[in-house]
Symmetry: C2
Subunit: 421 residues, 2 copies
C-alpha cells in the first residue's frame, strides 16, 4: 500500500509526501509515482500525528460524570465504585470511543494505563491507532499477595505480544498504591525485558507529604533509592519537584509528561517547571490524562493550555512558546516512547495529520505552528494517517456512527443502575 500526498504545506514549504507500507518513503516536490492512493494536500498542512503521553482512554464513559467536585468524594462516590463495575465489553466500547475522539482530533499514538488490557488492545488495534498500554498495577489494598501480583504481570507480559501498533508497558499506579517490593521487582523485570514503566508521580502535595511520612523522602528520592529511575520510566504530572529532584530525573534520563488540563481541573497545581526541566535536558511530553479529569482528548487544547498557564504563572509572555509545546506534543512523544514517530522525516513511521487551512482559525496563516497551538482545535484536522493507513479523510472515520452509539449505550449501562448526578 502506498499513499501520495500532493502539494501539502510542510512547515514552510509546499511539497509531496510519499508513504510506502507503514513508513514515510520520500519528501520532495513533484513526486512522480503511481500510488495506491493520492490525497490532495492543497490548502492543508501536514504535521506529525500528536502523541498523547498520558491517558486512561477508556474513561470516556465518565465524561461529565462528576465534575466540579472535591477530589475525595469524586473518587469515592463517582469513579471507584463505577470502575469496580467495568466489564471488558464496556472497556472495549469506551476505548473505541476514545480512539475515535483521538483520531478526529489528530492524535495517532497514545500511552495508556487502565483496566482490561485485552479489551483496550483489541479496540485500539481495530481502530488502527498506535498505542502503548499497560494494565494498572496496584497492591496497596492487599487484595493480592506479592506472588499473585507478580504472576499477573508476568502472565500478561507473556500473553500480550507487541504488534506493529500496540506495545506492552508496565503501569504501576503510584508510590502510594504500589508496595516497595513490587516496585523493586518491576525495576528488575522492566530492565530484563526492556519495558517502559508508566506511572503517576508528584501530582499533589498530599502525595509528597505522605511519601515523606511513609518513606522519609519525597517521591522522586524514594524512586531513586529503589533504583527505579531510568530512561524507560515515564512519569506523569511531576508538579511538585524541587531542583535536586529534577536533576536526579535528568541524570537518569527519566521521561516527564505534563497534563495541564487535569492539573488545573483537579487543582493539583499549575506551576509545572517546563523551562527548568528543559534546561536540565529532560524530555517533556504532553498528555490529556483521562476524560474524567480533562473532559476531552484534544491535544491541540492541551498544547494551548500548557503554553498559556506556563506564561501566566511565570509572569513571562515569552515562556512555553507555541513551537516548544508543539515539539512536546509530537517530537518528544517519539523520544519518550522510543519509536521513530513525532516527526515527518523519511524513514519515520507514517503517522501524519493534515490540518484544513481553509478555516477561520487558520486565516491568515502567518505562523502555522501558532495557529495550530493557539488558534485552531482538534476539529480542524481533516485527514489522519497512522502506520501508513488512512484512518480519517474529510473528517470521516469508518463506523463512527456505530462507535458513538455504542459508546453511549455502554456508558449508560455502566452508570444507569445507580443515579448519575
Amino acid at each position: 500500500m502506498s499513499i501520495l500526498i500532493k502539494n501539502v504545506l510542510l512547515y514552510n514549504n509546499i511539497t509531496d509526501i510519499l508513504i510506502e507500507g507503514n513508513k514515510i518513503k520520500t519528501i520532495a516536490p513533484n513526486i512522480n509515482v503511481v500510488a495506491d492512493k493520492v490525497i490532495d494536500g492543497t490548502e492543508k498542512a501536514a504535521v506529525p500525528g500528536f502523541v498523547n503521553c498520558h491517558t486512561h482512554a477508556a474513561m470516556t464513559v465518565f465524561r461529565g460524570f462528576g465534575d466540579d467536585m472535591e477530589l475525595e468524594p469524586w473518587l469515592s462516590d463517582k469513579i471507584w465504585p463505577y470502575e469496580a463495575k467495568l466489564t471488558s465489553e464496556i472497556v472495549y466500547h469506551a476505548m473505541k470511543l476514545a480512539c475515535l475522539e483521538m483520531i478526529k482530533t489528530g492524535t495517532t499514538c497514545f500511552n495508556d494505563m487502565y483496566w482490561n488490557l485485552s479489551a483496550g488492545r483489541e479496540a485500539a488495534e481495530e481502530m488502527g491507532i498506535r498505542s502503548f498500554q499497560g494494565k494498572v498495577i496496584l497492591d496497596s489494598d492487599h487484595t493480592k499477595t506479592f506472588n499473585e501480583t507478580v504472576h499477573e504481570v508476568e502472565s500478561s507480559f507473556n500473553k500480550y505480544q507487541n504488534t506493529e501498533l500496540t506495545t506492552f508497558t508496565l503501569a504501576p499506579h503510584a508510590v502510594y498504591t504500589v508496595s516497595t517490593r513490587i516496585l523493586e521487582w518491576l525495576r528488575d523485570f522492566s530492565k530484563a525485558n526492556d519495558l517502559l514503566v508508566h506511572m503517576h508521580l508528584a501530582e499533589t502535595p498530599l502525595e509528597c507529604d505522605n511519601c515523606k511520612k511513609q518513606y522519609g523522602v519525597t517521591p522522586v528520592r524514594y524512586l531513586n533509592r529503589i533504583g527505579l529511575l531510568s530512561p524507560r520510566l515515564i512519569i506523569a504530572h511531576c508538579l511538585w519537584l524541587d531542583d535536586e529532584e529534577m536533576q536526579m530525573l535528568a541524570d537518569n534520563d527519566v521521561k516527564i509528561v505534563h497534563n495541564p488540563n487535569s492539573n488545573l481541573k483537579l487543582a493539583s497545581g499549575y506551576h509545572f517547571k517546563y523551562h527548568e526541566m528543559k534546561d536540565k535536558g529532560l524530555t517533556v511530553g504532553l498528555g490529556t490524562d483521562g476524560v474524567s479529569s480533562s473532559n476531552n482528548l484534544d491535544m491541540t487544547e492541551t498544547m494551548k493550555v500548557a503554553s498559556f498557564i506556563g506564561k501566566a504563572w511565570r509572569d513571562d509572555p515569552t515562556a512555553c512558546s507555541a513551537v516548544d509545546m508543539f515539539k512536546c506534543a509530537t517530537h518528544n512523544g517519539g523520544i519518550i516512547l522510543n519509536k521513530q514517530l513525532g516527526d515527518i522525516k523519511e524513514g519515520y513511521l507514517a503517522d501524519i495529520v493534515l490540518f484544513d487551512l481553509h478555516t477561520p482559525a487558520f486565516t491568515p496563516n502567518y505562523n502555522l505552528i501558532s495557529n495550530i497551538v493557539y488558534s485552531g482545535n482538534g476539529n480542524d484536522v481533516d485527514t489522519v494517517i497512522c502506520n501508513g493507513k488512512v484512518l480519517m479523510e474529510n473528517r470521516k472515520v469508518e463506523n463512527e456512527d456505530e462507535i458513538l452509539r455504542n459508546g453511549n449505550i455502554y456508558a449508560h449501562k455502566l452508570v444507569d443502575d445507580d443515579a448519575a448526578e
Copy 2:
C-alpha cells in the same frame, strides 16, 4: 419569517421552539404550526448564542502575528505600527472574518472596541450578527484637542444610529490613554444619552502603579472619584482589584468582563476574583479579547479556561463551575449589554445555537453544560440563529469561502509591505 425547531434538547427536556420575527414566540413540545422554515433538532441541543463581552474583532488580521513576545516589543513592533496602517477596507474584511469565526463557534453577539466604526458596523450588519461597537477614544497622545475629541464622539454618535442588530457604545481605551477631562465629559454624555461605556481597567500591575503615581489612587478609585462608575460601565480584565474596589464596583452595579486567555497569554495575571465578585452581586461576563492576544474567538474555550484556571489558583476543584461559566457566557452577557438575550425564553430575542450531540465530545451526554464547557469546542456548533435569522446550518455559512479568501488577502495587504516574523 418564522422558524420551528423540532425535538431539540433544551437543558433536560426535548421540546420544540417557535421563532417569529426576531423573537422566541413559544417553547413547548409538539408545536403544531406551519413555519417558513423547520429545523430538525434531533440529536442537537439548543443553547443561547454566546455573548462575547470584550473583543477587538477586526484584529483577526493579526492572528499569529507576533506571539510569545514581551508586551512592549509586541505592541511597538507588531501591533501599533500596523494598526496605524489599517484602512476601512482592511477593517471591513477583517471584521467579516471575525464574524464568520464567531458564527462558526456559536457566538451571536459581541461587544467590540476598535477603529473604523463605519467599516466594522457595515461588516457585522451584513453578516447578520448582533454587535455593540464603539470606536476607541484615546487622547493621551495629544494629537487632538479636547474639543476635537468631543466633536468626533458627538459626530459619530449622531451618525451611527442603533439598528436591530448594532448598538453604539462609548469606548474610552483606558485610564492611561484617556485624559480626566474626557472621562468626565464621557460620564455626562453617556448619562444624557443612556450609552454603554466600554473600557479596559486594572489589567496589569503597571497600569495600577502608574495610576497611583499620576492620580494618587488605583484605577477603580480614580473612576469612582470622577463619577464614572455606573450600571452602564463595562470594564474588561479587572485582574488587580482589592476588596474595597470590588465593593465600589458592586455599589455602582458596574459590569465586569473576564478575559482569561488574553490574561494568561500576555501574563497579565491569573487570579481573577470571580467568586468574590459574584458574592458581592457583581455581574461577570466573558470575553475573548482580540485575536492578537487570545488567538481565536471561541467562547467555549474561554469558558473552559476561565473555569480551569479559576479552580487551579484557588486550589479548589469546585470553584468556577461549568454552570457558572456558562451563565457568564450567556445570561450575564444579556444583563451586561441590557438586552433580552442570553437565555432561551419566550419573548426573548431569537439568538439560538444548536450543538451537534452526535460527536465524541458529547458522548456520553450525562451533563450537557459540562460537555459544552469542558469537552466540546466551537466547531461542535451545527446551527446558529441570530435575531430570528439562520446564519449557519450544518456548519455552512453563506459566502464563507469568499470571506476566508478576502480575510487572507487583506491581512497580507496590511503586513506584507514589511516583513512578518
